[in-house]
Amino acid sequence: MAASSMGLCTVVCNINRKITTRYPRIFSLNTCHHVCRKSFGSSTQRCHSQAQIRKKSVPQQLVGVVGLEVHAQIHSNTKLFSGSQVRFSAPPNSLVSFFDASLPGALPVLNRRCVEAAVMTGLALECTINRKSLFDRKHYFYADLPAGYQITQQRLPIAVDGRLRYSHLAGRKQNQVVTKSVRIKQIQLEQDSGKSLHDDSRSQTLIDLNRAGVGLMELVMEPDLCCGEEAAAAVRELQLILQTLGTCQGNMAEGQLRVDANVSVHRPGEPLGVRTEVKNINSARFLARAIDYEIQRQMEVIGSGGTVLNETRAFDYKSGQTFPMRDKEGLQDYRFMPEPNLPPLLLYDSETAPPPQGVDPQQVVLIDAVRKTIPELPAVRRERLVDTFGLLPEHSFTLVNEDGLMDYFVGVASQTRAEPKKVIGWVIKDVLGLLKQQGLNVSQSPVSPRRLAQLLDLLEDGRVSSSAAKLVFLELWKGTGRSPAQIVEEQGLGMMDDSAEIRRICQSVIDSHPEEVRAIRTGNKKVLNKLVGLVQKETKGRADPVRVRAILEEGTS
């Protein structure tokens, strides 16, 4: 499946244009999915809202069943079976060896790094690592697969029977952490294909073999997911795990992580329905949208008495819809056969299955040695954040899921006297908020953890009010290199200590708002807040609100 989809990535845009004219009926499908997609935007309780839509549109309680096939490009210097470099966006065909171009007589030589990466990934996903695994040839014809077959692991893959535990936020306020898991059937090592650029006007295809032969880990998951949100959460967690392990860089936009979704619907308890395969999904968000669209489409097909066809569909992110990609003409025959040029891959374990004596250690991959090099996984990190800093689980999610944000938070928390619970608000609301708004990474933040820590110290010591601190923060964001203390000094944002001055401002507010004062005196204490606000406006938020409130209460009683 893998490779056939890859070459297609570039062609999708072209197809889309044609599809609009050829398949106009798809676009007038039932309106239900619009509702569904809207609720997705806010990502609030999507599964729930979808269930409600289901009840309305199809009375028989159909549910979606989703299984994923993920292709993760192994982060290595060289390709799986050749010594040519792995690099994105290099000049075309510059990273191609004779083997990658499948010149006659060129033979595969397995890259140890790729084996170790697959073993490490398998262990991190609780897989059983097969001490012996085999390579097979999978035949299909496409111009970006010059050999006419892909070397993969069909019969006996390197890892089997794993589990990916993932969590997503649920509940009305998105503050409940729901932990689920999806079974991993197998992880297999295989070759990536080259890339095809389709030149429709000249009716030709340009072939770049730079990607041909790059190592892939294909992760096949069992159909344990029920909706787009779950699939997106599982893929996001997998992405984090792979990035943490360093076995895959996980950039979906660059095709380092590619997801195909097998989607079907059925009534619980009954056998699974006919599935479609949705390809060409290049972000977690589109994955969720494509799956939800496809579930909804299939429910409507069945609801209106039709049958779902077993077909490959592509997702058009612009319209948010899936459309049929091509006819499969019966089951494709891949003519799997053992790869005759590669003996079985044997792995060892220094305790339970030591390598035979006299074998070059460079030629041996020890499962237990790989296990020892596995770094702290995201789930453990989140737990540690909750335990160490007393954070809420949902905050630990934000910190771990955003690349570099956890280190940023720990950096601030370790340099300030402020409570971690106060720090987290600033890091998530202010820092991350502004970063997102401006489309920046955490590493590009103009405010360093040290500066934020200094600002929080000023706040903690009562030298600035919280509203003044926000102003200082915005000033820091401009990146002028001045310290928070300097900014407070220069802009006169320090807390007002002058009692007489505060009293004078309070009095002038009281004097100029007789209506409000009368309301307070007749018992409407809420109006007091308005006066506090007016005083703060006057003082640019530099007065201690508790003190202001006390003075105003006194003045209006």
């Binding site: 056939s4 070459g7 297609l8 062609v11 290595s76 210097n77 060289t78 050749s82 010594g83 040519s84 470099q85 000049p91 075309p92 065909n93 510059s94 990273l95 191609v96 060896s97 004779f98 083997f99 171009a101 010149l103 030589v109 397995l110 890259n111 140890r112 790094r113 790729c114 084996v115 496409y142 111009a143 970006d144 095809s196 650029l197 389709h198 009716s203 030709q204 295809t205 340009l206 072939i207 770049d208 073999l209 091509r326 006819d327 003409e329 056969m337 053992p338 790869e339 005759p340 040029n341 590669l342 003996p343 079985p344 891959l345 044997l346 074998v359 460079q362 030629q363 041996v364 991959v365």
Partner: protein
């Protein structure tokens, strides 16, 4: 079945004798010559006598392939019923391979080829583990992850009939295979057809 090399098959057909292991037929002649193994057949040497290293690299090439072909007919009643190739399968094969069986003679030829392969069924594989390749007992060599190849685009592109800038040029791919009538027209003008 894929595990059997033709050589093994021919040996078995010629003179059915117990298999040594994995379908490797061990003749008296081979035993006699075991001290002149080539590297390809090192596995054999593990099981017989150990051979001094120099001798392994001996210039004497001991091919396991019989020098002259031998043949012995297999009687029809040993074979499974002959395969009939239905028209829709012929059509599928034609479309996949872009070949033209066209007439009944060609289909008969295809059926004859299948009949020839049917003789493989006669080979006794009872209790024999299928063998992937003659290398299956060898250790799989693992390479260091160092860049040592590539940077030969010019050399590779020279091999291509048609290039644009640094790309190979191929016909547009993944278009549906042509329908029967279109295909006939295509094959009529095809250079390929002239070769067949």
């Amino acid at each position: 079945m894929a595990s059997f090399t033709l050589r093994n098959l021919f040996s078995r057909l010629r003179n059915p004798r117990p298999l040594h292991r994995c379908g490797v037929y061990r003749s008296a002649r081979e035993d006699r010559l075991s001290s002149k193994q080539t590297l390809t057949w090192c596995r054999w040497s593990h099981e017989t006598t150990s051979i001094p290293h120099e001798k392994q690299n001996s210039h004497f090439h001991n091919s396991k392939v019989p020098q002259t072909p031998t043949w012995e007919p297999v009687s029809e009643d040993h074979l499974p019923p002959p395969t009939q190739v239905p028209l829709d399968l012929v059509d599928k094969l034609e479309r996949l391979a872009l070949v033209d069986f066209r007439n009944q003679d060609a289909v008969a030829c295809l059926e004859k080829a299948i009949r020839f392969a049917d003789q493989l069924h006669v080979v006794n594989t009872e209790g024999v583990e299928p063998m992937d390749s003659v290398l299956e007992d060898r250790a799989l060599y693992l390479r260091d992850d160092c860049v040592v190849e590539g940077g030969c685009a010019e050399e590779l592109l020279q091999l291509s009939k048609n290039t644009v800038e640094e790309y190979f040029v191929a016909p547009p791919g993944n278009i549906p295979l042509p329908q029967r009538d279109e295909r006939t027209a295509m094959l009529k003008d095809s250079e390929l057809k002239l070769k067949f």
